[in-house]
């Protein structure tokens, strides 16, 4: 492995140079941000930030039962698997952050936010037609100097605060509802779901102590909660006050690999719910919808690397880098 590591890092620099040469549309940018002064300077290159959605070792698909998920090994069928990402950055081995510029002309994303959609059928469990909005990577460009070594990738889950409260019916995609954001709009909190990760346990969801309560779905929705508003301030252009930010920033080490070439970002649903019992829900919404005292939210939030109540944030466990030949 160490040989592979060494080889990869050597190859990486050359590969990057080759990339620059072969891209054909490389532009010589002003390179003001680069701290290293080199011959050649920075160039804008296209990159692809691919994602993979897994439930353990199984790739997530819509019309199949997936067993053994959660703390009680529940069999489920997926009902929704979408999430927003923004602020993607590449980080060099010296810690320098390089912002990635998302391509606004690509479907499912605009210059500020992208909506990843892993449902292979439209409506997921509800439909069999192919999902035209399936999206598992973010297309972007980045300004890189050839000698920079990219060590990590960083991104933030969710919709940026500046876009979260705009009217969905006239918002730019992928925030338009009805549109790509159908089912991702959180109207009653006047915002969006940052993650729409819903499963339908085959045996349903029950509530201990309340036999009349049942639900078909177990949801994991991150979003801004606790929002208050001040109408006068809103009219003067201020944003709503949402004390719970709930936008985890994920930083992943590439381990010498290159995104879009031999590395992808994996979201592992099995890891997310490993401490959650998908067949029961004690209180409030079925699953976790980011409500401040919902007991199911504790394990979800901790897995995402967010603090929960008095529990401090820990290292997130849901996202990782996997080797993938693309």
């Amino acid at each position: 492995m160490s040989f592979h590591h060494a080889l990869s890092s050597i190859l990486q620099r050359h590969t990057l140079a080759a990339f620059i040469v072969s891209s054909g549309a490389a532009l010589l940018t002003g390179c003001g941000g680069s701290s290293s002064s080199t011959v050649g300077g920075a160039e804008t290159v296209s990159i692809n930030v691919p994602f993979t959605a897994m439930a353990g070792d199984t790739e997530i698909t819509c019309q199949e039962d997936i067993p053994s998920l959660g703390s009680h090994a529940t069999t489920v069928r997926f009902a929704d698997f979408r999430f927003y990402v923004h602020d993607i950055k590449l980080i060099t081995d010296e810690g320098q952050e390089i912002a990635v510029v998302m391509d606004a002309s690509e479907p499912g994303q605009n210059a500020q936010v992208a909506l990843l959609d892993f449902r292979d059928t439209l409506g997921c469990s509800e439909g069999t037609a192919a999902n035209p909005n399936y999206k598992n990577s973010v297309s972007a460009t980045v300004s890189l100097s050839p000698e920079l070594v990219i060590a990590k990738v960083r991104f933030t889950l969710g919709v940026p605060a500046t876009l979260n409260h705009a009217p969905p019916s006239s918002a730019e995609e992928p925030l338009r509802d009805p549109g790509l954001a159908s089912g991702m709009s959180w109207g009653w909190q006047n915002g969006y779901k940052f993650t729409g990760l819903d499963v339908e346990p085959v045996a349903g969801v029950s509530r201990p102590g309340n036999p009349s309560w049942s639900s078909l779905k177990w949801s994991a929705h991150l979003g801004n909660t606790g929002c208050t508003y001040d109408r006068q301030a809103l009219e003067q252009g201020a944003d709503q006050e949402c004390p719970s930010n709930n936008r985890p920033t994920i930083t992943l080490s590439l381990g010498g690999r290159q995104l879009g070439k031999d590395a992808a970002i994996k979201i592992d649903y099995a890891q997310l719910v490993s401490d959650s019992d998908l067949s029961t829900d004690e209180a409030y919404a079925s699953g976790c919808m980011s409500k401040a005292d919902d007991p199911e939210c504790e394990s979800i939030f901790i897995k995402f690397g967010l603090p929960w109540g008095s529990v401090e944030a820990a290292e997130q466990a849901v996202f990782s880098i996997i080797e993938q030949q693309l």
């Binding site: 109207g187 009653w188 508003y229 109408r231 006068q232 209180a283």
Partner: protein
């Protein structure tokens, strides 16, 4: 000395001094200039009584008659739902001041809504929308919930069906003209990419244009019993006016003149399921949105206009009649002795400070109900302007 005094110099002085004050003519003209910054100007004919200020209109959706008419068509159109079975009017009937007479309605898939369908009376003057949500401050925001919400499903419009629903509307010949008239600045208001935004804006405009200020109370025609009831309503003993005051009988009222109004939500001691103030889920009121303990069970005080038509009452329709509502207030809350929601709401620690018990006789209750009934606006519920245009088409008349 005398000679000196009477000399002309002094005479002149004396005379001048005395007539000097009368020289104070031609002063600056006093004036008071008032600039209301267009607060009394609107493109829509509100037809309000003189003492009612105009409601706020959103800057990105100013009111117009054309938007109102388009919204009216959409309001009564069941094609705006997943299976063509639900229109806004399914849960908002004009003859009940746009409520539906049920404790809680059902949506397109039969799932019951957790809360009661409110009457649509003077919504344009409401500070916030729905029973207990402090962040919904415009009708445009609220309208997306019944249309696109999935928990519960009401109209059930989602990503699988919204394109077909729009095509169904596009196929109706009435809509092309209505959309063009309502959004003249757009090239393709019905077939372009702003179509859904236009639907939402025009539905909001229709709801905004539902105004009711023509009750017996407004005309000053109160019966003797209703006059007694009015005094009881405004008395310090009952304190109704604290939450149901202003010209709209709700303290959550704002208008063009209002610069600031805090969110108005109150816990009236209806439930206390755990002995510590809990309300049954999911109807915890403002707490459902903010998560703060002090907001448990807080709901918006609805307008009492046309209240006699919107039974059953309270956020979950669990109070059947006006007399029951008054009885709850007289007791200082509701004591539920049995069932899943048993608890003594009168002891709810989050209860609003104005909900203290009071004594009221049976005759006084009758008078108070008579007053509340005088707030019914028969012109509002019979006004053809607010009625179903599709029905009128089928009857051969023009709406």
């Amino acid at each position: 000395m005398t000679a000196t005094f009477l000399s002309s110099d002094y005479k002149l002085l004396a005379i001048s001094l005395f007539f000097l004050p009368l020289l104070l003519g031609c002063p600056q003209q006093s004036s008071t200039t008032v600039d209301d910054q267009g607060a009394s100007v609107s493109a829509f004919s509100w037809n309000l009584p003189a003492n009612i200020p105009l409601p706020k209109e959103p800057a990105d959706n100013p009111m117009s008659e054309e938007k109102f008419q388009l919204g009216r068509h959409l309001f009564y159109d069941p094609r705006l739902s997943m299976n063509g079975s639900i229109s806004c009017s399914s849960c908002h009937h004009q003859d009940k001041a746009f409520s539906d007479g049920l404790s809680r309605p059902q949506g397109a898939t039969g799932v019951q809504h957790p809360r009661n369908s409110q009457g649509l009376v003077n919504v344009a003057w409401m500070n916030t929308l729905t029973w207990g949500n402090p962040v919904l401050t415009s009708i445009e925001q609220q309208v997306t919930l019944p249309l696109f919400g999935d928990d519960p499903i009401e109209h059930g419009i989602n990503e699988s069906n919204f394109e077909q629903i729009l095509m169904d509307l596009q196929a109706d010949s009435h809509y092309a003209a209505l959309f063009s008239a309502a959004f003249p600045e757009q090239e393709e208001p019905l077939f372009g990419e702003m179509a859904w935004d236009n639907i939402i804006k025009s539905l909001a405009s229709f709801v905004r244009g539902l105004t009711s200020f023509g009750s017996a109370f407004d005309r000053g025609e109160l019966s003797v019993a209703a006059q007694r009831g009015s005094r009881i309503f405004h008395s310090e003993r009952l304190e109704c006016f604290h939450c149901h005051g202003t010209y709209n009988f709700s303290n959550a009222t704002i208008d063009r003149q209002t610069s600031f109004l805090e969110a108005q939500f109150h816990n009236t001691g209806l439930y206390n399921t755990d002995g510590s103030g809990a309300y049954p889920h999911p109807n915890t009121g403002r707490h459902e949105i903010t998560g703060r303990a002090a907001h448990m069970g807080q709901f918006r005080a609805p307008s009492l206009r046309n209240i006699a038509l919107t039974a059953p009452y309270n956020h979950d329709g669990s109070v059947a009649t006006l007399r029951d509502v008054i009885a709850n207030y007289a007791a200082g809350g509701r004591h539920t002795t049995s069932g899943t929601h048993a608890g003594d709401g009168r002891m709810n620690p989050y209860k609003d400070g104005f909900i203290t018990s009071f004594s009221i006789s049976a005759e006084e209750t009758d008078d108070l109900v008579a007053f509340l009934e005088s707030l019914t606006d028969h012109d509002f519920i019979n006004n053809p302007r607010y009625a179903d245009p599709w029905l009128m088409y089928s009857q051969g008349s023009t709406p």
